[in-house]
Symmetry: C2
Subunit: 278 residues, 2 copies
């Protein structure tokens, strides 16, 4: 019987610990969320993040703009950077097309960059130096470690090379001494790479992409896909692999809860980075 | 019979073309090389770079310091950043231990960063945006393309995860749609990853690391290793693979000349980046 790796259980345990650590801090930790426009999915994500923050006593301020220019948003972020009562800043993506996403992201002080998307944090991750790691990548690492799944010396095949998940995950796992293969839409014969993997991490958004012919019985599958079929949410791994492989993260209830948790955890990391520099 | 991939031939051809493109530019292109201390190997590398620059009409200014503080060197680099007669800047590594290498590198304007080592250039490479790519990684890509070796959709196994070679190479090849596996000292059973590769790139510094049992007859080997045995220079691939695999870069005469060439090529790229911004 396949072992289901519960992101909910892991998140709940880690949250207890995080909450204790936050209580010990005299200052109030605060997260400022910035959103622009009316993306429906974004609204749900933000609501979720605010609720989670409150549950560990992180104050959440939400700045919403129906419409704003790049220049004005830059000025607002620069003010937040200087404001010592602001611990971390999250710019909800995607931004409307009239706004220069790269400029906005890189205006955020890297020590307040809760999503780990600034150039400086990318370079720190790449060079294996202390910085803020993107939430989904960090959530997966934490989930593996919590589940006592060894990463070091393992062959990990990642499918999907996005800047938000695949690439930071590849670097994070490499930093933990895994041997990483990064596959994507141009990979020929994906099966060779999944069959030989100790751990498969799939983050593509294609339901059924991983089927039981592609996995070995000792494989662990981390399913980052979130797809909607007939109103039901499912991942990128076909349910048939659940019977065959060693362990798998369910969708929903696997990686998703971990990603939101890391917003809280990274807010504490931001606080620590700012303290270190003083 | 194995095909030898000559870096010398490739460099000479590319240099002819580069020289023509530089001649068309009205401004004089200049490279400023900064070195500190008395590292013997560095002296030879610098001499080589200066000679190569002159051969394509790039003026080379060498600033050498026996001893200098981080702060003073930062001030010098800031001046060079502002000086419009300086096209590119190269800080010869390693720097003496009393100097903060990270601060020095990141003081260089990314548009003058001929080695592609600043955080901004790392992030640009990672995000597949236009920037300066580290010389050895770019040299290998150019050598493969010049040799008409297809990269797209190929399985490439890189051995060695340094910030100077392995990592930028992995990202560069990924950006060219290769499927990349990054191996290192903690990789178990290296042979699995080399046997299944279309292209093996080895950059470790261990003579004989790749032997004929580890390669297939259709494999192409790019040997970045430079080792000295009994006064002779050799790479990381054992000579026995030369008979077995499809093509290999010799050491010396393979990747080495390409790395130096890219200092010249990147100086032109720096010039273009600076023009773009005006």
């Amino acid at each position: 019987m396949t072992n289901l790796i519960s992101g909910i259980k892991c998140r709940d345990e880690l949250k207890k610990n995080l909450s204790k650590r936050i209580k010990k801090i005299k200052e109030k930790l605060t997260l400022t969320v910035i959103s622009v426009g009316d993306d429906e999915a974004s609204k749900i994500y933000i609501k979720n993040k605010i609720k989670e923050c409150q549950s560990v006593n992180i104050e959440c301020n939400h700045l919403h703009f129906e419409n704003i220019t790049t220049n004005k948003l830059v000025k607002i972020i620069k003010k937040l950077n200087k404001d010592s009562s602001v611990t971390s800043i999250l710019v909800q993506l995607p931004l409307p097309k009239n706004i220069d996403e790269n400029i906005i992201i890189n205006t955020i002080d890297y020590k307040k960059d809760v999503d780990g998307l600034t150039d400086i944090n990318i370079a720190k991750l790449y060079s294996n130096k202390k910085g803020i790691i993107p939430c989904t990548a960090k959530g997966i690492i934490d989930l593996l470690e919590f589940s006592k799944i060894n990463i070091e010396e393992k062959n990990v095949t990642i499918i999907g090379r996005s800047n938000l998940v695949g690439k930071p995950l590849a670097v994070s796992l490499l930093n933990k001494n895994a041997t990483v293969t990064l596959c994507h839409s141009k990979t020929k014969n994906l099966k060779i790479h999944t069959k030989s993997a100790d751990i498969i991490i799939v983050a593509v958004g294609k339901p059924g992409l991983i089927n039981q012919k592609m996995v070995s019985k000792d494989t662990i599958i981390i399913d980052v896909g979130i797809n909607r079929i007939n109103g039901k949410i499912c991942g990128d791994a076909d349910k048939s692999v659940y019977k065959k492989c060693k362990a798998v993260t369910p969708v929903p209830g696997g990686v998703g809860p971990m990603t939101v948790y890391e917003v809280l955890s990274n807010t504490l990391e931001c606080y620590k980075l700012q303290k270190d520099k003083k």
